[in-house]
Symmetry: C3
Subunit: 143 residues, 3 copies
């Protein structure tokens, strides 16, 4: 019973963490997105690029990545789904889930769909709040 | 602990409310969809149109909106995701989430995708059931 | 209170069951996918085809279905969403939800989107784990 309750609570907490995290990302609030990682958090989202580390490193990487949209205004939306959550012995959580990026341009009702990705996170509780210790994004078109 | 339990319960309740609500909408059961709002509920879904109010007003607005499909049979599906839920001091819930409309036509396997939207709801419990006090839909292509 | 807790626990359990189930399916681990059904489970996913029954039957049907990709490498992703869960008197669960298939080909960033489906499952607990007693997939383009 306790373990059922725990899995239930974890599952809602993970979903809420991701909802808030992607809304920061898609709102281009990169420093706040970076703050959803632990201080030594690792973020690897672009194939062939080295991972970014720490709040400043993640913020810098997202700023760099999003320069491509400087003269191409878009509203991006990251959708996460089919989230598997597995608690580890050490209290960390392994999650594996699907991610899809939708990119809408002004005046165009149909978003560009893709890439479709598989994401592997390690999450940690800090002062009762979930944080990403790491994120590895695998792009399906690179299988 | 109580607050964790509460957030967990709220999160599942909100997801279930939305699942049932959109299945009514996509089943063209507009009066039943309207009944998922409070009696004085406000529904604003079309950019530039005034909000509809109350069960009759919401039903009428959806009937009007869907006339465009009278000679164009479609199966629409509303997908909600990345749901942020924030309880307010007054017992109401603020939610912010992504919505995507998928429109399938007979014999065509690939749905039309879009618009992609950001939705802000205010939810209230009535006799233990969640209801929408309001819904504001923002279309990403109108950013 | 107990019933609220139960619905909450059920909702998380169903989401987790589906997350793990589709990751097996999309990983082409068909025997393991089949094992997420009860021993006498029924699986009906292709319009006009008879349902498959039991672990061996479901594994064989998925192997047959996926032969079409033998010379066309793809990464498929099944997305489930808007999940309605209704416990029955007999302890089984009726679920109704939306499903969308995304198919990504090597080097192509935009997945093929579709079909969009409505799925009706009956789920059972076996030794504390959810299993599908049945699954009926309805394709929206066949409405």
């Amino acid at each position: 019973m306790t373990s059922t309750t725990t899995v239930t609570e974890l599952y809602a907490a993970v979903q809420l963490h991701y909802a808030r995290q992607v809304q920061l990302l898609d709102g281009c609030r990169f420093a706040e997105y970076a703050a959803t990682f632990t201080a030594d958090g690792e973020f690897q989202h672009t194939p062939g690029q080295p991972a970014a580390h720490g709040h400043d490193g993640i913020t810098a990487e997202l700023t760099r990545f999003n320069k491509r949209f400087d003269n191409d205004p878009v509203q991006r939306r990251h959708w996460f789904n089919m989230i598997d959550v597995r608690p580890r012995e050490d209290g960390l959580l392994d999650t594996t889930f699907y991610a899809l990026v939708l990119t809408t341009r002004p005046g165009v009702k149909e978003p560009v769909v893709g890439p479709s990705c598989l994401v592997r996170d390690v999450l940690a509780f800090e002062d009762g709040e979930l944080r990403n210790r790491s994120r590895q994004v695998h792009h399906d078109q690179m299988s």
